[in-house]
């Protein structure tokens, strides 16, 4: 790990590099040849060109264009033009007055908070479990990441299958063990369906929370845990006073990334409920899709997108601050 130390190439080395260029028969300051330094600079910019072009095309342009769309009146007739008639704030006032949009915004917040709480509790419990030694631990740990590899739409579809009213595995299990006397209408009862998407999404996030928290728990030196145990701290005290404070930075990062991931959830809900019944599971993402791609009100969809973007960007400063050490870092040979 010589990354921090070698931020500056030692003078001896850069002299050696210049000397070798000199030895190669090149005059040191030819009027038409580039200096080594300029060459390095040019090379760096060439290495960066594809990425900069991509970021501009696939992120900057769509984000800016989305802002523009949100102030336009886009109809199927105007879709073939890059610009549509100006609509002022009418798309935003539509969003504010449309009950489904408003509910989708509130529901997205509840869904995010509920998912993160559930994922953290279960993921942390599993992470703690994996720090104890038991036969098959490594095997179990490698299998726990499987849900995370399943394409999201497939997860949505499979939960739709499992949550079926008739012949669904979940109703069958609940009735077999006596937790329910009659099947629960997970998918078609607007009072219940929110819990259905929440349960499915918590399931989806478990591997991520487990893995991140587990890797943090592993980094706690054994002596510290032992010292706390010898001092007579009970399990709960050790957790609250020693373990959680020690892994707090990782917990913060995990919540941050979990938040970013959860406000974006789309595939799972489309596959599971399609936003129904009666729009009872529409999130900002699914309702925005509906506005833009089902009723072709791209302006309204874009306005709702901007609400989502602002919501997601709340954590951008925190994310940047948490990454502050890596932002400026370079371990380079070049100047």
């Amino acid at each position: 790990m010589n990354t921090e130390v070698e931020t500056d190439p030692t003078p001896a080395r850069s002299q050696a590099a210049t000397a070798s260029h000199g030895a190669g028969g090149r005059p040191t300051e030819p009027p038409r040849r580039m200096s080594a330094r300029r060459k390095e600079r040019l090379a760096a910019w060439l290495f960066l060109t594809p990425a900069i072009a991509y970021l501009l095309f696939a992120f900057a342009l769509p984000i800016v264009y989305n802002v523009l769309l949100s102030f336009e009146n886009v109809t199927p007739a105007t879709l073939s033009h890059f610009f549509s008639p100006w609509a002022g704030f009418s798309n935003y006032s539509f969003i504010l007055n449309d009950p489904t949009s408003r509910e989708a915004i509130v529901r997205t917040l509840l869904f995010t908070v509920g998912s993160l709480a559930g994922q953290f509790v279960i993921g942390f419990a599993l992470a703690l479990l994996f720090t104890t030694t038991f036969p098959g631990r490594t095997f179990a740990r490698s299998l726990i990441i499987v849900p995370w590899l399943v394409p999201l739409i497939v997860s949505g579809v499979i939960f739709k299958f499992l949550f079926q009213f008739q012949g669904g595995a979940i109703n069958q299990l609940l009735m077999d063990v006596g937790l329910a006397s009659k099947p629960i209408d997970w998918l078609d009862d607007p009072q219940i369906s929110f819990w259905t998407i929440l349960i499915a999404n918590i399931w989806l996030g478990i591997p991520f929370f487990t893995m991140l928290l587990y890797s943090a728990l592993q980094d706690i030196p054994e002596e510290i845990k032992e010292a706390a145990a010898i001092d007579g701290a009970g399990v709960w005290q050790r957790l609250r006073l020693v373990i959680i404070p020690m892994i707090l930075p990782v917990i913060e990062v995990t919540f941050l990334l979990g938040f970013v991931f959860t406000v974006k959830v789309f595939d799972l809900v489309i596959g599971l409920t399609g936003g129904g019944p009666a729009n009872a599971t529409q999130l900002i993402t699914t309702w925005s899709y509906n506005l833009s791609f089902q009723v072709f009100s791209f302006g309204e969809g874009a306005a709702l997108n901007n609400v989502l973007l602002v919501l997601a960007m709340i954590c951008a400063p925190i994310y940047l601050w948490l990454s502050r050490d890596s932002l400026r870092r370079s371990s380079g040979v070049a100047r």
Binding site: P9, S20, A43, A44, L46, F47, L48, P50, A51, Y54, F57, A58, P62, I63, Y65, N66, L79, F82, T133, F134, R137, S142, L143, V146, L149, I153, V154, V157, I158, F159, K160, F161, L162, G167, G168, A169, Q172, W203, M211, L212, V253, L257, V263, K264, F266, I270, G271, G301, N305, N306, L308, L309, L320, S323, L327, S330, S331, G332, V333, A334
Partner: protein, 292 residues
Amino acid sequence: MAEPGLAATQFGGGAVTLAHKKLMRKGLAMFAALIALVIVLFPVYAILVGSFETTTTLFSGNYYWLPHDPTLANYTAVFNEQTGHIVTSLIVGVGTALLALVVAVPAAYALSKYRLRVTVILVSALIIAQIVPSIVLATSLFIVFHWVHLLNTYPGLILADGTYAIPFAILVLRAFFFGLPNELLYAAKADGATEWQTFRLVVIPLGRSAIVTVAVFAFLAGWGDFIFALTVLNGSGIEPITLGIYTYLGNYSTDWGAVMAAAAVALIPAGVLLVVAQRYIASGLTAGAVKG
């Protein structure tokens, strides 16, 4: 309860109960892990079992926990109807991986080994890009692609799918490249290698494991993408397997056998990669979290 091993050797009398306790705890942990695994893996199990069930079984109104009257009919149907979609998904997955490598490997090198004023801005932009929800991009890209004739094309879909993979890939590779010893880069340059030769002959071979990780993730992102397939394709011609599964979902009569078999096929790349590239996947999962 502290140091059961120590206690057991020192105090012969307590050894039995302490060893017993330790064994109980191990057994309990194993049992808890087993329950957790069953819950976490059950949906995948249900896909596999369901994919072999007959339509009669699936519509019997009864859930069978074990295979009941297994059949291959669903797979026959899926291979008849979805082979083209599988090929499409492979093209999109490979295309996304290639795009991610071409864009990310040089950029990550420049952002880790050259001292540039633009580094802070670009790395910040990449971190922020990871936050942007795909639906925001999809809505705009639909109209932009319409305009530049990329709608319903492979390049269009791959460019859109790159948004999942590229910021992640650059940040992961950059973190990895920090660890490459500068001595090797100096040595290459001292031997007269150009910037490009140093990159191609030193950086790429040394970065192989991180490059594989990133390629695996980019492939899975392209293979598993649904939102861009749903928006920048219009359903004629190019149709990946994720979209194929979605269109199987009828409003009232879903052919669950076909859905399950198609879902099982959609799991194959992840399954293969989990077996052959497990260390890359495990490292990639945690690498995304602010590390470099």
